[in-house]
């Protein structure tokens, strides 16, 4: 009898838990799962008034994919996306890792704390703010650097409007904004290193540099490799946020990426089917990358423990 009451009580709590989850479940249904169904738009001559079901099928079904791959611009978009992504990964990892190592070697604690506080901050500023800052420093007419060049009688540099320097600006601003934040994970890894290893190295007469090379870096190698692998999984996302806000039509050749193009084709030119097809292509590649990359990362972690 008591058992029955107890079971009933548990059942009631289980139902309550399920009910509690309903709003969240509905949210995912509407904004994650319904859009997956909406992928059909890529295979239809979609007209927004007719809706997904009533729009006629594209003929052939791969019409919009063909349109994209036959577009001479396609190759450039893919190249830009991958190059910018990889560039950002390389620069960002290098500076995050270096910052983490420098911070971990700092003996003056208050300095360590203040540098951490300062370098994490830009992560929370929006890209529009960063655009304002970049503008104040790098704009051709009134940016600090060009004002200085001009008063020194030297030619100005069009940082924001020439292909080569614009990409550098993308890397640089990404490092400025995110390197401090990225250092957190490496700092945590360094904090987890057995201090005995450093003592042993010191006894062996290793210099501080040698300790970094022989103890710190090898000890956090698993973290570095896992981070690298995970980042490679997101290589198709070159950063719509940053690029859309910073770029302009003069630098499309070097910095128009899949996401910015999809936005312009889809929401500015209202070619919904083509934009959906390209978005789908990107999603599929991303998913394959993320899944395989996770598998590799897991293998790496397993082989280490």
């Amino acid at each position: 009898m008591k058992d029955l009451v107890e079971r009933k009580r548990i059942k009631s709590h289980q139902i309550q838990l399920l009910l509690l989850a309903v709003p969240g479940i509905l949210f995912f249904a509407a904004f994650s799962y319904f859009p997956m169904y909406g992928i059909l738009i890529a295979f239809k001559n979609f007209q927004i008034k007719k809706g997904i079901l009533k729009s006629p099928w594209a003929d052939p079904w791969y019409k919009y994919f063909k349109q994209f791959f036959e577009n001479p611009y396609c190759k450039q978009l893919l190249t830009n996306t991958v190059v910018i992504s990889v560039g950002k990964i390389v620069f960002n990892m290098f500076f995050s890792l270096s910052l983490a190592i420098v911070l971990s070697e700092l003996k003056v604690k208050w300095l360590k704390k203040s540098v951490q506080t300062i370098t994490y901050l830009p992560h929370f500023l929006s890209w529009v703010i960063v655009y304002g800052i970049i503008y104040a420093l790098f704009s051709e007419s009134s940016g600090l650097i060009n004002v200085a060049l001009r008063s020194a009688g030297k030619p100005t540099i069009p940082f924001l409007t020439s292909d080569g320097s614009f990409r550098m600006l993308l890397y640089f601003s990404d490092v400025w904004k995110e390197a401090g934040w990225g250092a957190i994970i490496y700092l945590a890894a360094i904090a987890g290193i057995d201090p005995g290893l450093y003592e042993a190295a010191a006894v062996d007469g290793a210099s501080r540099w040698q300790r970094i090379w022989r103890v710190t870096l090898p000890s956090i190698r698993p973290t570095i490799i896992v981070m690298l692998i995970l980042k490679l999984g997101t290589v198709m996302n070159a950063g719509f946020d940053q690029i859309y806000i910073l770029y302009n039509s003069q630098v499309y050749a070097s910095s128009d990426i899949i996401d910015t193009w999809v936005y312009r084709i889809g929401l500015e030119q209202l070619n919904y089917s083509l934009a959906t097809a390209v978005g789908l292509f990107k999603s599929v590649i991303s998913t394959i990358l993320v899944l395989s990359v996770n598998k590799i990362a897991r293998k790496w972690e397993e082989s280490l423990w």
Partner: protein
């Protein structure tokens, strides 16, 4: 006495290597601070100083508030503030409610269909329908051109859901059992037992969501066309852009009159984030590491 000795030994230990580390770390901090400082300095610069120094204002003298006045009297600005504040307050509250009410059941082993629901909430992280299908949902739900278009599509972010759920999982079952024995229902347990015990993670997600809303830009870009619903970031971008297109080919005078205003706009828009940042910093390292391990 002991303390004095300690600091003495500390100073003795500073080798050239340590000095080098200090120099590099300070340089890194300077790289972050200088652009921020320069923007603040420009925002307080006066028209005459700007002209006199041909745009090279490292120390504003005299300090002028003209830029701020000009920005705050811009017609679109008060409205943009209202929109952004509304999104931030209401949006964050809804984010909190939707995130904890989903994270709590997911953290309980006795939840029916738990495995299915775990996959259900995780899958969207790996595969998404993309921009246009999501846009179509927003349109079909009648959210286009409303403030809700900037709130509802981002009610839950997977990252915040994950860190909340893992924190809830680490709470001792005994607390929940006691609540149940006392006759509390699950809603009461969540809000009177779990949430108070999970303050660090709740603070983290509230601040994260808050900053996300304050910085909102893309959802306005995608879903909001009418100009009186534009949030602050969009208005700021407009101000910066407009100034740019006229600036590139005009004289120093025009530059001077807009430069202080533009940078005042940047400073004011960034200020709330900079002000909550110390609170945010208290929690995020921990939160990020929980997320890093789980995700």
């Amino acid at each position: 006495m002991v303390k004095a000795q300690k600091t003495k030994t500390k100073h003795k230990k500073l080798e050239p290597f340590d000095i080098l580390m200090i120099v590099i770390a300070s340089f890194a901090a300077l790289i972050i601070i200088f652009p921020l400082y320069y923007v603040v300095s420009l925002s307080f610069s006066s028209y005459t100083q700007y002209i006199k120094s041909s745009g090279f204002v490292l120390i504003p003298n005299p300090i002028s508030l003209d830029g701020y006045k000009q920005f705050l009297t811009n017609q679109a600005v008060p409205r943009a503030f209202l929109v952004t504040i509304f999104i931030t307050v209401v949006g964050t509250l809804l984010n909190f409610l939707f995130t904890v009410t989903l994270a709590y059941p997911l953290s309980r082993r006795e939840l029916p269909f738990r495995k299915f629901l775990a996959i259900y909430t995780f899958l969207p992280m790996i595969f998404s329908g993309g921009l246009i299908p999501t846009f179509y949902v927003v349109k079909r739900l009648g959210l286009m051109n409303t403030v809700w278009a900037m709130i509802i599509p981002i009610l839950i972010t997977t990252y915040n859901l994950t860190i909340t759920r893992s924190f809830f999982q680490s709470i001792d079952d005994a607390y929940i059992e006691v609540g149940r024995i006392e006759g509390m229902n699950e809603v009461q347990i969540l809000f009177h037992v779990i949430v108070p015990l999970a303050k660090p993670v709740i603070a983290t997600i509230i601040l994260m969501y808050g900053v996300m809303h304050w910085n909102t830009y893309y959802h306005a870009l995608y879903y909001v066309r009418s100009s009186n619903l534009q949030p602050l970031q969009v208005v700021l971008k407009g101000i910066l852009m407009k100034a740019q297109s006229t600036l590139e080919e005009t004289s120093l005078e025009v530059t001077a009159s807009t430069q202080a205003m533009k940078q005042a706009a940047v400073v004011i828009t960034a200020l709330p984030v900079v002000l909550v940042y110390p609170f945010l910093q208290k929690y995020f390292t921990k939160g990020m590491l929980i997320g890093g391990i789980k995700g």
